[in-house]
């Protein structure tokens, strides 16, 4: 390798490094970058002059030149990060606002009110109706164990009904033991366990909350949805009481003239089980497209608490009896307010939210 070329290259590295270190701002650094790597830069010049060397020298000098270029590029990147951080810090520090200095009179006041989500409004209204009927309102966690979501509800491991729940499991502990509740029924188990522990039976409660299932969102399904359940555990509760409670609720919530009816169904946690239907609110029972000309629309499921559920939580089914019911809040809101697509609930478009 010829001496002059070699010393030129080393000088480029030295001077380049110094220029990079001296850049005081990202703008400066951009300037330095152009000078170092641009078409008229010394590096490019040195590269062009390689052509005049003999092949052996050219190879060696070319390799070195490449190294120097890479080293400088890396220094630029490092320096840029440092400078950008410093510039961001400087800007943020200059932008400082002591939040205790905020003067209330100078804070912008709204000129329009905000809107409670339609699903929340529906939930509140349901809570109020049930509170008026003598129910307390209970809540529970969204993550549960298999015991609360399934087994205590008479669905032991491998129970075929588990398959219908499309459960989402969490990566915690043993596989398939911790999950996102697929219904609000685990709250029933917590309530009954607690009442047994505290000796506070009877129970008259409704339980609203979020539930989770592996359901691809479409016009009538969301993977995260809201449900409300009711549970009554008392002495002498009968299926007739269940039918009467559903009817009273139907009239209280939907209005006079609205009827309910029960149909046999199957749920592992109730026996007897039923689906409940209400007069179609669109046609008032005359028959229309919404209700497939039946005059009734299905709202939810219900039934007498299965004695196996009572035994699982330590309640004596010979002394106590009870019923439970449940239905989807989102679905109810959808029906009642003629929302065309359930996905509107989670899109958060202000034009939708502010309608209610």
């Amino acid at each position: 390798m010829s001496e002059p070329i070699e010393s030129d290259i080393e000088q480029i590295l030295r001077e380049g490094a110094a220029a990079i270190a001296a850049a005081a701002s990202t703008d400066d650094l951009a300037q330095v970058e152009t000078e170092l790597f641009g078409k008229r830069s010394v590096l490019s010049g040195a590269h062009r002059s390689l052509g005049s060397l003999d092949p052996e020298q050219r190879k060696e000098a070319g390799r070195r030149l490449h190294e120097v270029r890479a080293a400088l590029e890396s220094q630029v990147a490092t320096r840029r990060a440092v400078l950008a951080d410093a510039e961001r810090a400087e800007l943020l520090i200059a932008d400082r606002l002591d939040l205790t200095e905020v003067i209330s009179d100078q804070v912008r006041s709204p000129v329009s009110r905000g809107h409670l989500h339609l699903v929340s409004q529906t939930r509140d209204e349901l809570e109020d109706v049930f509170a008026g009927m003598g129910f307390e309102v209970a809540e529970g966690p969204e993550a549960e164990t298999d015991w609360y979501n399934f087994e205590a509800l008479n669905m032991p491991p491998d129970h075929p009904a588990r398959g219908t729940f499309d459960t989402m499991y969490l990566d915690i502990g043993e596989p398939e033991t911790v999950l996102l509740r697929t219904h609000t029924s685990p709250v029933q188990i917590h309530l009954m366990e607690e009442a047994v522990r505290q000796g506070t039976l009877p129970i008259h409660a409704v339980m609203p909350g979020k539930c989770f299932r592996l359901d691809t969102p479409d016009a009538t399904h969301l993977p995260v949805f809201n449900q409300i359940e009711g549970l009554v555990v008392d002495r002498g509760i009968t299926f007739g009481d269940l039918a009467g409670t559903i009817q009273t609720f139907t009239t209280a919530y939907f209005g006079e003239g609205m009827r309910s009816r029960l149909r046999p169904a199957y749920f592992p946690f109730t026996e007897p089980s039923a689906e409940f239907e209400i007069t179609c609110a669109i046609c008032r029972g005359e028959g229309c497209r919404t209700c497939s000309n039946i005059g009734w629309v299905e709202l939810g499921g219900c039934g007498m608490v299965d004695p196996a559920v009572f035994v699982a939580v330590g309640i004596d089914p010979d002394v106590w009896s009870g019923f439970a019911f449940g239905f989807g809040i989102d679905r109810l809101a959808l029906m009642r307010h003629e929302v065309p697509d359930m996905r509107l609930f989670i899109e958060n478009d202000i034009r939708f939210l502010s309608q209610f």
């Binding site: 993550a143 164990t145 499991y169 990566d171 911790v178 009481d241 046999p264 899109e347 202000i350």
Partner: protein
């Protein structure tokens, strides 16, 4: 399941009242999803016989046809040519309307009058064949003039019924008919098919069977049928299968399917010549064993030691038990000898394997719900009986190879009458209950005094043993009595209904936010790893093992990604000048070291499992075009006032270097954010979104030649902490006196270091001012060159008032002096 009325009528004389039948089925829990009227639209089509065919002069595509349809010869012009004199074809007479709406009129073509239309299968909606007329075969007995629907047996009604998962007994024609007949008070008969005539050759001659794992297959029977001629099924069998929604295949497979639809018992026919060792071995699959099923898929079984295989006599797998057979031993046109497998498999085992293989068939769905292990023998005889119709020379080897383990048996329950009455709420007598249960297959008898003895048949696996089975029987009583016949009664109780304090507080929060112009959003609980990183959150997140979207497997640790996403969504639609909030749950990983939530888990709830910590947050974004951190601070003040909270401080990092942010301030502007601290406990955060984060979410506005981040206020409060009065004390709801005397104001402008928060100054002033102070309000902040770097002037208005007199100037002067002294002494303030 599709149930044709004509088929149901094999078992009971059901009336024609379709509405009544539908209502009865619905009320029994056999929900009718749809009623199909077969032959609808074909009411005016009749059978006609061709008596003459002559060409029409000058036309080569159409001919003159004379038909007899019961009312004398009719002249018709027809374009089809696939028929001869003597054939019987469908006629749409003048005035008829075809299913597609075409109205048939009298027409004249080439001088020939056409008095109707002869129809193809396609024109009648009966087949895809539109090439020629539908020519009736010799097997159809119908004289000219007969309605086509009658001739073809097309007059039927099919109920599409959803049978609940606990009612395998009702998942067949006989089962539906049994329930329906009982409800309508009609006699129900399920004929016992006769055993085939003896052939003199025992089944064990030339066939073998064994069960190695009786826990998976408690009963296996094998029969052998010889001299089989494989061909099409008799017309009536093919028609019924078609109406029920199954495609006819050949007489052997059809007979098996027919038996399943009629009685609910799946069977499997094999070509015995193609079965190695002319027999079956039923056993547990070994790890990693494979079997090629009928659908051509090679399936791996045996991983958990719970899959049941059907193997041939040489132990080579030929099917997944109860789910799907294999191609190797399928019935073929050449089959002459059939081995019929009819078994009872353990329902749970079939359910597990079916789920794991993702393979569900008509057979597996029935086996996993539970077939009647003692219905097998009748099903096998029925199969022979049906096959004999199309194979007159059929011989059946004598007996069956019948291998049994612990086969469920009928059992007796003592059902307390008092419990029936208590659960149902109707004072039913023992006789009434018996009259409800006996017609649907239970056998009742007088029990000991207050009990009714109920013998539970083996086709009712939904009825558990005692004690829970009692309630299963009660359900049958209520169901057959009719839910709609149970008088409704609304119970009352002395305990009042109410919302909890937390629920009322949550509603107050939402009401406050609404008053501040913020609308409530609902954002996704599931987020990507990226979403947390984008708002500066590090550390573990709870992961869903089987997420709906692979890219969003985590449970959210913050509502910020969701709310900023919602803002960006609106901004993209030119409506970004809004305020949004959400009240929702965020999750912390149990490994994060926070408080652990331990719950019962595992079999019997005997194990413990750690759960994620759930916190309910209020988070709000203030993104009106002139909002910034101040809007969020203002919102917090209103919220604090609504909850009568005054002790919460805004704790911000001091001036100077850029501070490292605690997790609660992640994603926020480092010098425009503060923690909300109640006596040492952080309950939330207030401030402005970090401009880098806002830019990342596309929340920018134009500035000069480029864009800059929008200022977006942020408020987050942990509601569990805010609502806990032990953490955040509230002013009692007790009235304080309001003075009747005029108040006096003094204004103080104090210069203090930037490091001294304004609220600390207010507190010092308040403490010094004493009981006569009514309020202290910051009304001006001034920074400027003559005040000096790192300092600012804070102007406060202090309002004094006494309950019992008008304050004198002297009194106020003394108080003023005390306040100034305190500020000077404690904070190094300088009065301006």
């Amino acid at each position: 399941m599709r149930a044709p009325l004509s088929w149901l009528r094999d078992f009971a004389q059901f009336p024609d009242d379709i509405r009544g039948l539908t209502a009865a089925l619905d009320d029994l829990g056999l929900v009718v999803e749809e009623v199909e009227h077969v032959g609808e639209g074909l009411e005016s089509i009749v059978v006609s016989e061709v008596t003459e065919i002559t060409p029409i002069e000058g036309a080569d595509k159409i001919r003159r046809v004379v038909v007899e349809a019961g009312d004398g010869p009719l002249e018709i012009v027809c374009g089809a040519s696939n028929f001869e004199v003597g054939d019987r074809v469908p006629l749409a007479p003048v005035g008829a309307v075809l299913p597609d709406g075409t109205a048939i009129g009298r027409r004249k073509m080439r001088g020939v009058e056409s008095n109707g239309m002869l129809c193809s299968g396609r024109e009648l909606g009966l087949s895809d064949d539109g090439a020629g007329l539908l020519v009736l075969g010799d097997d159809i007995v119908a004289s000219p003039g007969t309605l086509l629907t009658e001739a073809l047996g097309l007059k039927d009604t099919v109920f599409d019924i959803t049978v609940e998962g606990n009612r395998p007994d009702a998942w067949c024609m006989a089962g539906i008919a049994r329930d329906l007949a009982a409800r309508l008070g009609l006699p129900f008969t399920l004929p016992e098919p006769p055993a085939p005539p003896p052939s003199g050759v025992p089944v064990a001659d030339g066939a073998q069977a064994s069960v190695e794992d009786l826990d998976l297959c408690p009963r296996l029977t094998v029969s052998v049928l010889s001299d089989v001629v494989v061909g099409p099924s008799p017309r009536w069998i093919a028609e019924r299968l078609t109406l029920a929604g199954m495609r006819p295949i050949n007489n052997v497979v059809d007979a098996s399917n027919y038996v399943m639809l009629e009685r609910g018992q799946p069977t499997h026919p094999y070509d015995i010549e193609r079965l190695g060792g002319r027999g079956l071995i039923v056993r547990r699959a070994g790890p990693g064993e494979t079997v090629e099923t009928l659908d051509g898929v090679t399936r791996t079984v045996g991983d958990r030691g719970a899959d049941c295989l059907i193997c041939d006599g040489e132990n080579v797998p030929v099917g997944v038990a109860g789910i799907m057979g294999g191609a190797s031993s399928e019935i073929a046109a050449s089959t002459t000898e059939v081995l019929l497998e009819a078994a009872y498999f353990t329902p749970m085992a079939i359910a597990r394997t079916s789920k794991r293989l993702g393979l569900r068939t008509e057979a597996s769905a029935r086996f996993e719900r539970g077939c009647d292990p003692w219905g097998i023998d009748a099903a096998v005889n029925r199969f022979s009986q049906l096959l004999a119709e199309s194979t007159p020379g059929l011989t059946v080897r004598d007996g069956t190879i019948d291998i049994r383990g612990a086969v469920p048996e009928p059992f007796t329950l003592a059902v307390p009458l008092a419990r029936v009455r208590r659960q149902v709420g109707v004072p039913l007598t023992a006789e009434q209950i018996a009259a409800l249960l006996d017609p649907i297959g239970f056998t009742t008898g007088a029990g000991d005094g207050p009990d009714l003895t109920v013998l539970v048949p083996t086709n009712r696996p939904d009825v558990r043993p005692a004690p829970y089975g009692i309630d299963d029987v009660i359900e049958e009583v209520a169901r057959t009595f009719g839910y709609s016949n149970i008088p409704p009664h609304t119970p009352t109780w002395p305990e009042p209904g109410h919302l909890t304090a937390l629920q009322r507080s949550r509603r107050l929060v939402k009401s406050v936010l609404g008053g501040l112009g913020a609308s409530e959003g609902w954002t996704n609980t599931f987020v990507s790893e990226e979403a947390h990183r984008r708002v500066g959150l590090r550390g573990p997140a709870v992961r869903v093992s089987n997420p709906l979207l692979a890219e969003e497997p985590y449970l959210r640790r913050s509502l910020m990604p969701g709310l900023l996403g919602a803002l960006a969504y609106n901004a993209d639609r030119r409506q970004g000048s809004i305020r949004l909030y959400e009240v929702g749950v965020v999750f912390s990983h149990p490994d994060e070291g926070g408080p652990r939530v331990v719950e019962r888990s595992g079999a019997g709830g005997s194990q413990k499992a750690s759960l994620p910590l759930e916190r309910e947050l209020l988070s709000a974004v203030f993104a009106h075009h002139d909002d910034d951190a101040r809007s969020a601070v203002g919102a917090w003040r209103v919220l604090a006032d609504a909850f009568r909270v005054s002790g919460v401080r805004l704790v911000a990092p001091g001036p100077g270097e850029l501070p490292a942010l605690p997790a609660v301030l992640a994603g926020l502007h480092p010098t425009r954010a503060a923690q909300l601290v109640a006596d040492g406990t952080t309950i939330g955060a207030v401030g402005e979104i970090d401009p880098g984060v806002a830019t990342d979410f596309g929340l920018t506005h134009p500035s000069g030649t480029g864009t800059v981040a929008r200022r977006i206020g942020w408020l987050e409060v942990d509601l569990g902490l805010l609502f806990d009065e032990r953490v955040v004390p509230r002013r009692a709801m007790l009235a304080a006196a309001v003075s009747r005397f005029p108040s006096s104001d003094i204004d103080l402008a104090l210069v203090v270091d930037d490091g001294v928060p304004a609220d600390v100054v207010a507190d010092v002033l308040g403490a010094a001012a004493g009981d006569l102070l009514e309020s202290v309000t910051l009304f001006d902040v001034y920074r400027g060159a003559h005040i000096g770097e790192g300092r600012r002037s804070l102007a406060f208005r202090l309002r004094f008032c006494s309950l019992d007199h008008t304050l004198t100037d002297d009194e106020v002067g003394v108080l003023r002096g005390r306040c100034i002294d305190a500020a000077v002494a404690q904070l190094g303030a300088v009065l301006r």
